[in-house]
C-alpha cells in the first residue's frame, strides 16, 4: 500500500504496569535519516528494540517493506536487513576489527573468507579505519570502536541502520569522528533511524526530527521547524535545553 521502507503503526508496549510506549506511529523512506530525541526513560531504546525484534509489541504493527516484522517467524533472516549500532559498541572482544566486521558475513551470510575479508576492508576504509584492521577492540579508542561497530553493521548491506545513542558513551572529543561518519552515510543515501542527544547533528543531518516524551510522539517534522517554530511548548523547552547543554560536543 505504500512505498515506505519502514512503517511503525500505533505501537503499544508495557513492561508490567509501566506503559512505556503508548501509540507510536512514524515511517521511514529509503535514503532518509530520521532522528528521535526525547528525555531518557521515554521509550526511545524500546522502539529500536521492537524494530530489531528483540521484544514484541503489545499492540500495533511494524512493517519492513511489505513484511509485518511483528508477526514474522523469520526473525534472524530479517535482522540481517536491519543494522544496529549500540551505545556500548557491542564489539566482539576476541576478534580484531576486521574479524568483527567479517563474522556476520561468514557465519550468517555464509560468505567465503576471502570475499568477506574484501568487504570488511572496504567497510573499514569507509569509516577511516583501514589501518586498524588487525587491532582488537581493547586496543582501540571509543570513537574507533564505534566506527568498527558502524562498519560491522554496514558490511551486512542492511536496508536500514538503527543507532541507539551512538556517541553517548564517548568522551566529547571523540564524538566528532563518529558523527562525521554518520553524516557521510546520510549523504551517501543510507537509511538511518538515530536516537541521539547531539542536537547540532540532529539539526543539520536529519531529514526529519521526532520528539518523544512519555511514550508518545509529541511532534515530528523538519528539524528547522522544530528548532525554530515548534507547535508544542515542550518541544521548544527540551530542544533549547539540550542545544545549550551539548553545544560543545558537536562541531
Amino acid at each position: 500500500m505504500s512505498k515506505h521502507l519502514l512503517r511503525v503503526e500505533n505501537i503499544y508496549k508495557s513492561f508490567g504496569d509501566n506503559d512505556v510506549l503508548r501509540g507510536i506511529s512514524f515511517h521511514l523512506d529509503k535514503g532518509e535519516t530520521k532522528v528521535i530525541v526525547g528525555p531518557s526513560g521515554t521509550g526511545k531504546s524500546t522502539i529500536l528494540s521492537l524494530i530489531n525484534m528483540l521484544v514484541p509489541p503489545d499492540k500495533g504493527h511494524i512493517y519492513l517493506e511489505d513484511i509485518d516484522i511483528t508477526r514474522t517467524r523469520d526473525v534472524h533472516k530479517i535482522r540481517q536487513n536491519i543494522g544496529f549500532v549500540f551505545q556500548d559498541f557491542g564489539l566482539f572482544n576476541h576478534l580484531t576489527a576486521k574479524g568483527n566486521v567479517m563474522i556476520g558475513l561468514t557465519k550468517v551470510k555464509k560468505m567465503g573468507k576471502k570475499e568477506a575479508e574484501e568487504i570488511a576492508m572496504e567497510e573499514l576504509r569507509r569509516v577511516g579505519l583501514e589501518n586498524f584492521a588487525d587491532q582488537y577492540p581493547a586496543q582501540l579508542s571509543g570513537g574507533q570502536k564505534q566506527r568498527v561497530g558502524i562498519a560491522r553493521a554496514l558490511a551486512m548491506r542492511p536496508k536500514l541502520i538503527l543507532f541507539d545513542e551512538p556517541t553517548s558513551a564517548l568522551d566529547p572529543e571523540l564524538t566528532g569522528e563518529v558523527l562525521n561518519v554518520m553524516r557521510k552515510l546520510a549523504t551517501e543515501g543510507m537509511t538511518m533511524l538515530i536516537v541521539t542527544h547531539e542536537m547540532g547533528f540532529a539539526r543539520t543531518v536529519a531529514d526529519e526530527l521526532i520528539f518523544m516524551e512519555d511514550g508518545v510522539i509529541l511532534e515530528q517534522g523538519l528539524p528547522e521547524k522544530l528548532f525554530t517554530n515548534p507547535e508544542h511548548p515542550r518541544t521548544r523547552e527540551f530542544l533549547f535545553k539540550l542545544t545549550d547543554l551539548y553545544n560543545e560536543g558537536e562541531r
Binding site: 528483540l54 535482522r79 557491542g90 566482539f92 572482544n93 586496543q139
Partner: protein, 210 residues
C-alpha cells in the same frame, strides 16, 4: 612409579567426567528453565557440601548395601568426577556469564541465531575466562586423588606407604611423594600459562599492548 600413573589416570579421567557433566550443567544453569536450574543448583549444593571421603565411602561401602557393587578404582573416579562436576559447572557458568549480555545482543542483531552466537561469540570468550579456574580445579583434583587411598586404590600415596611398610625410611618416601605431587602441579600450572598466552586477547591483561 606405577602409583604416579594411577594418580594421573584418576585425575584426568575424573576431570574429564567432571567436564562432561559440568558443561551441560552450566548450560542448564544459564539457559535452562526454572525446574532445570533448581535441580542443578540442588545437586551443586549437595556435591560441594559433602567431604570427598564421605562421597567415596557412600559409593564404595554404601551402595553395596542396596546391591550396587562398584570396584574401587571406578568408585574413585565417580566420587572425584561427580564432585568435580559441581565445581566445574560453577566455573563454566561464571565464564559464560562473564561475557556480557550485550555481546549476545550484538550477535543477534547481525542475524545470528542463538546457537551460532553462542558458538562463535560467547564460547570463545568464555573459554578464555575459564582457563585459570580450570587449572586451579585440575590441581585440586590431582591432590585430592590421594583421598582414594582410603579404599585401597594403589595410587601414589598408597604406593609410598607400601614402600615404607617394606622397610624404607618414611621421611624419604613421603618427601618423594610430596615432590612428585609438586612436579605434577607445576606442570599443570605451566600448561595453563601456555594456554593463557596462546589465547590472550591483545589489549586485555597486564602485558596487553602490542
Amino acid at each position: 612409579m606405577e602409583g604416579t600413573l594411577v594418580t594421573i589416570k584418576l585425575a584426568s579421567i575424573s576431570l574429564l567426567l567432571g567436564f562432561c557433566l559440568g558443561l551441560p550443567m552450566a548450560f542448564g544453569q544459564v539457559y535452562g528453565n526454572k525446574v532445570i536450574r533448581g535441580i542443578i543448583s540442588v545437586y551443586e549444593r549437595i556435591a560441594r557440601s559433602i567431604p570427598l571421603l564421605v562421597i567415596l565411602f557412600l559409593i564404595f561401602y554404601g551402595l553395596p548395601a542396596v546391591g550396587i557393587r562398584i570396584p574401587a578404582f571406578t568408585s574413585s573416579i565417580l566420587a572425584l568426577g561427580l564432585r568435580g562436576a559441581a565445581y566445574q559447572s560453577q566455573i563454566y557458568r561464571g565464564a559464560i556469564q562473564s561475557v556480557s549480555g550485550s555481546q549476545m545482543r550484538a550477535a543477534l542483531s547481525l542475524g545470528m541465531n542463538r546457537l551460532t552466537a553462542f558458538i562463535y561469540v560467547i564460547l570463545p570468550q568464555a573459554v578464555r575466562a575459564a582457563i585459570p579456574p580450570i587449572g586451579n580445579e585440575a590441581a585440586i583434583v590431582l591432590k585430592d586423588t590421594s583421598t582414594v587411598y582410603a579404599i585401597g586404590v594403589s595410587e601414589l600415596l598408597r604406593q609410598g606407604h607400601y614402600f615404607i611398610s617394606t622397610g624404607s625410611d618414611p621421611m624419604t618416601i613421603y618427601l618423594a611423594v610430596a615432590f612428585i605431587y609438586l612436579v605434577m602441579t607445576i606442570f599443570i600450572k605451566g600448561l595453563l600459562a601456555l594456554f593463557e598466552r596462546k589465547y590472550r586477547i591483545p589489549g586485555i591483561g597486564i602485558e596487553g599492548e602490542s
